[in-house]
C-alpha cells in the first residue's frame, strides 16, 4: 500500500503547527505526544498503521472551522475520524496530516417526534440515536453491525448499511439534513427537516464521500415507528444454489423482508461453535429471513417464505416463536466476524456486491480462488441485496500470508465487478480498494469525480490518498482540451 510521499518539511514544523492548533483548541483538545498519537494510528483495517502528525479534538463548530482555515493556510492535511471503525482505511492517518476527531461532538441536539427526526452531533453513536427514541416506539433504521461504536458522522461519510437496509434503505435514504464545514472554514447547511434538496443534492453527494469533501458537524436523520412485530426464519439448505434460488424467489414473489442474511458452511460452524445458537451443522447454507411489520402481515409472510423455502428443498426450517428465539437466531450471524476470528489468527473482510442471480457462480469461483491462493474463506452476506462479505482467513505472522490474502481479496472484488457488481457495498473504498477503482471506472469517470472533489477542496487537503488511485491537481483537471479540427460535428444529424 503506497500513500502519497509525506512532506518532510511540514513534519519538521510539527511543534509550530501544534502550537498554532492549541491557540484554536485549548488544553487536551490537541494531542501531540508520540504515545498518545499511536492510539490513533489505524482504524478497523488494522493491517495499515501510521501515527498522525497530531490529533485535534475540537468541541465546537467554530473550532472546526478555524482548525480547517488554519490547516489550509499552512498546507496541513486533515483526516476526519469518528470512532475509527472503518474497514477500508478511511480514517488511516497521514504522517504529514492531522487527525480531526469528532468524538467530542457527542450530543443529541433535538428529538422531534412531530417531524419524525433527530438532530444529532456527528460523534453520537449509531445505536445512541435509537436508544434516545425507543421509549416512544421509534428507531433509526440503518444498523451496521458496529452500531454500538460507530458514529453517525462516520455513517454519513461511509453511507453505511446494515442488515435491515434491504427494506429500510441505507444511510443516504434516511438522512434529512447536514451541517458541513468546508476546507476553507465555510459552514454550509444542507437540507433540514423537510424532504429533498429542490436543486443540486449536495447532501446526497456528501453521503458516502469518505471524509474527502467536508467535515460533517451536524446530522438530521429520519426516525421510524418500530414495527409492531418481527419474526425470523432460520432455514438450512443442502447447497448455496438452493439457498440462492430461495432468495430470488422470495424477492421475485414481491416480498421485501426486513433482513435476509446468508452464511456458508465454514461461517455456520464458526458461529455455532462460538455462540451455540442452535444452527444446523449438516447444511451447506443457512438463511435467516426476518419479516417485520404489522402482526397480520408478518404471520402471512412467514408462511409464504416457509412454502418457498420448502419448494427449493430446504432441509430444516425453524420459525421464531418469541422475541428471545428471534434474537438467538440472529446471535450467530451478529457474532460471525468474531467467531471467525476464533478459528483463524487473522481474517480479512471483503465487501463486494453482485447481482443476486450470480451468487452460485460467484461462490463456485470463489472456492476456486481459495484453492489457488491457498487460503480458506468463510462467507456471510446480505443475501437480499447481493452484498457479500467473504472473510479470508490468514495468519499475519506467516511471511507472505497477508500479501496473499490481499491478492485473493482483489481477485474476489474483480470477480464481483466482472459479473456486473461493484467493489464495495457499504465499507467504502478508502485506501483498501483505491487501486482497484480502475476495474470499475475509466479515467474519464474518475476525472469527473475528482473535479467534484475540486469544487469542495481545491488544494486536496482533506483525506488525500483515499478513494482515488492517483492524485491529480485541480488546475490540471480543469483544463479544457479542445481539438477543433477533429470534431465530428459535420456528420451530426441536424433537423
Amino acid at each position: 500500500m503506497h500513500m502519497p510521499p509525506p512532506d518532510e518539511a511540514l513534519i519538521a514544523r510539527r511543534d509550530e503547527i501544534v502550537a498554532g492548533l492549541r491557540a484554536i483548541v485549548p488544553g487536551e483538545g490537541v494531542i501531540s505526544t508520540e504515545a498518545e498519537r499511536r492510539a490513533y494510528e489505524s482504524d478497523g483495517l488494522t493491517a495499515y498503521r501510521q501515527p498522525p502528525l497530531a490529533v485535534v479534538l475540537p468541541s465546537t463548530v467554530e473550532e472546526v472551522s478555524r482548525v480547517l482555515r488554519y490547516c489550509r493556510a499552512q498546507g496541513v492535511k486533515v483526516v476526519p475520524r469518528g470512532a475509527g471503525t472503518s474497514l477500508s482505511g478511511g480514517a488511516l492517518p497521514l504522517a504529514d496530516g492531522i487527525i480531526l476527531g469528532l468524538g467530542k461532538f457527542n450530543r443529541i441536539l433535538e428529538i422531534d417526534f412531530a417531524n419524525r427526526c433527530v438532530v444529532a452531533q456527528p460523534g453520537v453513536t449509531n445505536l445512541g440515536i435509537t436508544l434516545a427514541v425507543q421509549h416512544a416506539g421509534f428507531f433509526y433504521a440503518p444498523d451496521p453491525s458496529s452500531q454500538i461504536a460507530c458514529t453517525i458522522g462516520g455513517n454519513v461519510a461511509e453511507n453505511s448499511g446494515g442488515v435491515h437496509c434491504l427494506k429500510y434503505g441505507v444511510t443516504t435514504n434516511n438522512l434529512l439534513g447536514l451541517e458541513v464545514v468546508l476546507m476553507d472554514g465555510e459552514v454550509v447547511r444542507l437540507g433540514g427537516k423537510h424532504l429533498d434538496a429542490g436543486t443540486l443534492d449536495l447532501m446526497g453527494v456528501m453521503t458516502g464521500s469518505e471524509g474527502l469533501l467536508g467535515i460533517v458537524t451536524e446530522v438530521t436523520v429520519r426516525i421510524l415507528p418500530r414495527p409492531s412485530t418481527a419474526r425470523a426464519l432460520l432455514i438450512g439448505f443442502p447447497s448455496s444454489e438452493t439457498a440462492g434460488d430461495t432468495v430470488a424467489d422470495i424477492i421475485g414473489s414481491g416480498i421485501i423482508p426486513g433482513g435476509m442474511e446468508m452464511m456458508d458452511r465454514p461461517a455456520i460452524h464458526a458461529a455455532e461453535d462460538f455462540v451455540h445458537a442452535g444452527y444446523p451443522l449438516d447444511v451447506e447454507a443457512l438463511l435467516i429471513v426476518e419479516l417485520d411489520g404489522p402482526e397480520a402481515e408478518v404471520d402471512h409472510l412467514v408462511e409464504r417464505v416457509e412454502t418457498i423455502a420448502n419448494r427449493h428443498g430446504a432441509v430444516s426450517c425453524r420459525i421464531s416463536q418469541n422475541e428471545e428465539e428471534r434474537l438467538v437466531f440472529w446471535a450467530g450471524r451478529k457474532a460471525a466476524f468474531p467467531a471467525v476470528g476464533r478459528i483463524s489468527p487473522d481474517y480479512y473482510c471483503m465487501d463486494g456486491t453482485i447481482p443476486r442471480g450470480r451468487l452460485t457462480e460467484v461462490l463456485t469461483r470463489m472456492a476456486a480462488l481459495s484453492e489457488i491462493h491457498g487460503l480458506r474463506v468463510a462467507n456471510v452476506f446480505h443475501a437480499g441485496d447481493g452484498n457479500l462479505h467473504p472473510l479470508i482467513l490468514y495468519d499475519a505472522n506467516q511471511p507472505g500470508e497477508l500479501d496473499r490474502a490481499e491478492a485473493m481479496g482483489s481477485d474476489i472484488l474483480r470477480l464481483c465487478v466482472e459479473v456486473g457488481g461493484v467493489l464495495t457495498g457499504e465499507h467504502g473504498v478508502g485506501v483498501e480498494k483505491r487501486d482497484l477503482m480502475g476495474t470499475m471506472f475509466n479515467q474519464m469517470d474518475l476525472d469527473q469525480q475528482m473535479r467534484l472533489k475540486c469544487a469542495f477542496d481545491p488544494e486536496g487537503l482533506l483525506n488525500p490518498g483515499k478513494v482515488f488511485p492517483e492524485l491529480r491537481r485541480c488546475a490540471e483537471l480543469g483544463k479544457m482540451h479542445v481539438h477543433r479540427g477533429e470534431l465530428a460535428f459535420p456528420d451530426i444529424p441536424r433537423f
Binding site: 436543486t199 443534492d201 446526497g204 469533501l213 404489522p294 447481493g386 457495498g425 467534484l452 444529424p493
Partner: protein, 398 residues
C-alpha cells in the same frame, strides 16, 4: 440555431464536444414536457435526446431496469405493470398542470428534476431509486457513475447529484433504476371535515403509528372534487401490502383515527395519482403554482399565514410536509411572502407553473445562502466549466 438529435452516445459526445469548443450553449430536452418549468434556458440550440430511448435491460428478479434516458415513462410503466412491479417513488405527471398533455414525459426527465409523488414519504424520491447512469458532461466527455446494484458505495454518489440538476451537469444517455414489487393490495381511509391543523394532527398520529402509511394528504374543501360525493375537506391515508395485512391495519386505523373525525373508505381509484399530479390546480390556469417542501409540523401554520396575506388555494401531501399553493393576483406570484414565511422553519419553495417572463424575473428555485451558492457554482463548473448545459435554468447566472 440548431436542433441536435443524437441517435447514440457517441453522437452526443460529438455534439457536446463541439458545443464546448465553440462555447455554444444548448437547451437539453428529454421529451420536452417540462420546458415550461424552471427558469427559461438561455441557449440558441436545442439538444433533443428523444432518440436515446428504449429498454436495454429489465431483470424483474433483480429488481433492476436500464433504459435509454429519454424512454417514455408510459412505456416503462406498462412493462413494469406486466411484471407486477413499479417505480416506487410514484413519479408524478405534470403534463396537464403545465398546460400540455399527460403521458409524454421521459424517465430521464423525471429523474433529472427529482420529482416524487405521494409515496415519496415512505419510499423515497427519484434520487433514492437511480442506481447508475452514463452521460456526457459540458466538456463533451462521456462518463458513468453508480452501477446496477442497490448496495454500492464505490466512489462519490453522483446519481444523487444528477437527480435535481435539471440537465445542468450532464446530458443523460442511459439510466439504471431500482424497481420494486407492486403491492398486492391498497386501501385508502378518509377522514372528513377536518381543518388544516386537525388534519395534520391526524396524519401525524397515523404516520407515527407502526401501520406503515404509504401516503398521507389533506385536501381542504376549496380543493375538493377529487373525491366524488364529498363536499368538505378530505384527509386521506393510504396503506399497502399483502391482503391480510391491509385488512387488519384498516381496522386498527379506523379505530385510532375515529377520534379525529368521521371516517370513510375510498375504493381504489385515481385519488393518489391526482394528488401527485396536482390535479386541483390543473384547472386554474391563471394561478401561479408553487410546491413547497417544509417540516410537516409547520405546514398548516404556513398555509394559514399565507392565506391571510395572499389569495391562495392549497393542499397538502407528505403528511403536511409538501404544501401545494396556487396563488392569484400577487405581482410576484407570492414569491416574497412564501419565501419569507418558510425562513423560520426551513424548507424550499419551487415555482412549478408561471408565465415565461415571470419565471425569468422571480427566482424559480429557493435562493441559496451565499456560501452554498458559491459551492453550487463550483460544482457546476466541475461538470460544465463553460456553462453550455441549460444555462440560466436553475439560477440567473449559472
Amino acid at each position: 440555431m440548431a436542433d441536435f438529435r443524437p441517435t447514440d452516445a457517441s453522437d452526443l459526445v460529438s455534439i457536446l464536444a463541439w458545443a464546448a469548443a465553440e462555447k455554444e450553449p444548448v437547451e437539453v430536452l428529454g421529451r420536452g414536457t417540462k420546458r415550461g418549468l424552471g427558469r427559461p434556458v438561455e441557449a440558441a440550440h436545442r439538444l433533443d435526446l428523444s432518440q436515446l430511448s428504449g429498454i436495454r435491460l429489465y431483470e424483474p428478479a433483480e429488481l433492476v431496469l436500464t433504459v435509454g434516458a429519454a424512454t417514455p415513462l408510459a412505456e416503462i410503466e406498462a412493462v413494469l405493470r406486466d411484471a407486477d412491479q413499479m417505480l416506487a417513488f410514484e413519479p408524478p405527471d405534470w403534463g396537464e398542470l403545465l398546460g400540455g398533455e399527460a403521458g409524454g414525459q421521459s424517465l430521464g426527465g423525471i429523474l433529472s428534476c427529482n420529482f416524487g409523488g405521494p409515496r415519496r414519504l415512505k419510499m423515497g424520491a427519484a434520487r433514492d431509486h437511480l442506481l447508475g447512469f452514463s452521460g456526457v458532461n459540458g466538456r463533451g466527455e462521456a462518463f458513468k457513475a453508480g452501477g446496477r446494484v442497490v448496495k454500492n458505495v464505490t466512489g462519490y454518489d453522483l446519481c444523487k447529484l444528477l437527480c435535481g440538476s435539471y440537465g445542468t451537469l450532464a446530458a443523460l444517455a442511459e439510466v439504471t433504476v431500482k424497481v420494486l414489487p407492486r403491492p398486492e393490495e391498497e386501501a385508502t381511509l378518509l377522514i372528513l371535515g377536518l381543518n388544516d391543523q386537525a388534519a395534520i394532527a391526524a396524519m401525524t398520529e397515523a404516520l407515527n403509528s407502526p401501520h406503515e402509511i404509504s401516503a398521507a394528504a389533506h385536501l381542504p374543501a376549496a380543493c375538493g372534487g377529487l373525491v366524488p360525493g364529498v363536499a368538505g375537506s378530505v384527509t386521506a391515508l393510504r396503506i399497502e401490502g399483502p391482503k391480510p395485512s391491509v385488512v387488519a391495519r384498516l381496522g386498527v386505523l379506523r379505530e385510532l383515527l375515529g377520534t379525529h373525525g368521521e371516517i370513510a373508505d375510498l375504493p381504489r381509484g385515481q385519488l393518489w395519482q391526482d394528488i401527485g399530479d396536482a390535479k386541483p390546480f390543473a384547472g386554474l390556469p391563471d394561478h401561479v403554482v408553487w410546491r413547497v417542501s417544509v417540516a410537516p409540523s409547520t405546514g398548516a401554520a404556513l398555509a394559514g399565514d399565507l392565506g391571510r396575506r395572499l389569495d391562495i388555494r392549497h393542499f397538502y401531501d407528505w403528511g403536511g410536509g409538501l404544501l401545494w399553493l396556487a396563488v392569484a393576483g400577487a405581482e410576484d406570484g407570492g414569491a416574497g411572502a412564501i419565501r419569507e414565511a418558510i425562513k423560520a422553519g426551513g424548507g424550499h419553495a419551487t415555482l412549478i407553473r408561471g408565465p415565461e417572463d415571470f419565471r425569468r424575473e422571480v427566482p424559480v428555485f429557493e435562493p441559496l445562502a451565499p456560501g452554498l451558492a458559491a459551492l453550487t457554482a463550483r460544482v457546476k463548473a466541475g461538470f460544465d466549466p463553460q456553462g453550455i448545459l441549460n444555462p440560466g435554468r436553475l439560477y440567473r447566472d449559472m
